[in-house]
Symmetry: C2
């Protein structure tokens, strides 16, 4: 395709999404597959990138983001410390191959508290750049490791990662309450909301044992356990982040997880706004690409 | 042995401890093995109990406590609701065989919060009966599922169980930070104390991800990860239980775990007193046995 300005790849641990983007930032074509970095053999990244160019029939520049820039990926692209601007991130992209660059992650380490992100920064910049969220805002990216980012003048001023999704998976797969959690699916109903309410006490280790005890005592239906635990974990995350005044939260999430977080944010006194994470990624990576072209490093 | 008044067995899920006790409540002989209820085949409890009598060369009455009274044990001995007195628990013992009784557990379900214990109640009653703790006191039994019991006039008025030890094991065996946690043993040092301090924020899902991020950023040594996570979890437990005024906590624990909890209780503003959990069990089971003999049910 001759109209392709550059090829962007959101290259995660287990999944990958490639976009062919034209000079106006419009997506000409996209493809998604399971060839995350864990599926790429040692030394296989140049071929994997060439294969994407081949499928898009283009030798356009490539700009990669996500775990492909980690120490388990193609090249370790490092981290830009907070406050991280789009310009600083664009200036820190790393050359991985011919016409191929990788976006660095973002870190914070003030007050002895360390945190890192890799891949999420593109969505955050893009959400603001595309007008999906204000330049001064709290953004949330739910998932295995849920990111909460405080943006200031369009830059990433600070952020916190919570192991929310991973804890849910661990508890379901391996804990005393795992069998109860397997008895029903997570739904945005009374049990989920009760979990969010109970999370106000911020006493997760006791609340989790309560699931088992309540089951034994017949206080709750086993089928509700997964929804309740999801409410406890997502609620813990939202109550911790929404201390003080009620605030707007811009959610970059799929509809299912987004709806659960929206409910929890509402209970925690915030206001949730769901925005399109794919549109945010495309807007962010296009701005970073434009910045690199404008002032080649 | 002809001096044996009764045989007490603290019969848990994976371990078992039997005591031959004389008419004065003194322990004549004790044995410990790994034949917890999971090691007893279906229908095998009568033979397992007879074998203990055989080894003690006695056909004295037996009084069993712990998971042997659960729905996975010999006979489901049910639960006595809070406020639970020693007399009420003694009156609710269940006959399992010839001269063999099982002590019930204790439950609480006020305000929709369910909790259960099974086996710990004997130590709690015994700690007070033997004068190891006052009749009105907060007692703590650390472990896989840490129990905190509020005693009033020697009865169990209320209690809370926290999944503290199980969460530590899950995180070490299965989580993103498990490899870091395997790099060093838990010790009562600076990293443990930093974890207890950081637990004040009551933001466990974020603090746990911070272990990973701090490792990547080189803020903390990997060898300290297990101690820090232990501090986070034990600290979360202690901060949640010691809200408000500083209080005395009577710890029924082995020396290693007892020392960690004592440090965390101190940081959380309490005062820890380590007491002997085996002595408490013997005192408790002897009082329950005496109550049953005095007023056979």
């Amino acid at each position: 395709m001759t109209d392709i300005s550059f090829i962007a790849v959101d290259w995660g641990t287990t999944n990958r999404r490639a976009y062919a983007i034209d000079a106006n930032g419009a997506v000409l074509r996209t493809e998604r597959d399971g060839d995350g970095i864990l599926a790429v053999p040692a030394g296989g990244f140049p071929d994997a990138a060439a294969a994407i160019r081949g499928r898009f029939d283009s030798d356009a520049p490539m700009l990669l983001a996500g775990m492909v820039g980690s120490n388990r990926g193609w090249v370790d692209a490092g981290y830009v410390p907070c406050t991280a601007t789009l310009d600083a991130v664009a200036a820190a992209t790393v050359v991985a191959g011919d016409g191929i660059r990788i976006v660095p992650g973002v870190s914070r380490s003030a007050d002895g508290r360390g945190d890192v992100m890799r891949g999420e920064e593109v969505q955050l910049f893009g959400a603001v750049a595309a007008g999906l969220a204000p330049g001064d805002a709290l953004l949330c990216q739910p998932g295995t490791h849920c990111k909460w980012a405080w943006m200031a003048a369009g830059a990433i001023a600070d952020f916190t990662t919570a192991m929310t999704g991973e804890l849910f998976s661990l508890l379901k797969a391996h804990s005393l309450i795992g069998a109860d959690m397997a008895a029903g699916d997570v739904a945005d109903g009374d049990a989920f909301r009760a979990g969010v309410e109970d999370a106000r006490t911020r006493d997760l280790p006791a609340a989790l044992f309560g699931v088992r005890a309540s089951g034994i005592l017949g206080l709750h239906a086993r089928e509700d356990a997964a929804s309740y635990v999801s409410g406890l974990l997502i609620g813990s995350d939202c109550h911790a982040r929404l201390r003080g005044d009620a605030r707007d939260v811009y959610l970059l999430a799929d509809p299912v997880l987004g709806a659960l977080y929206a409910t929890a944010i509402d209970i925690a006194g915030g206001r949730a706004h769901l925005i399109d994470s794919h549109a945010a990624f495309v807007a962010g990576i296009t701005r970073i690409h434009a910045r690199i072209r404008q002032d080649p490093i």
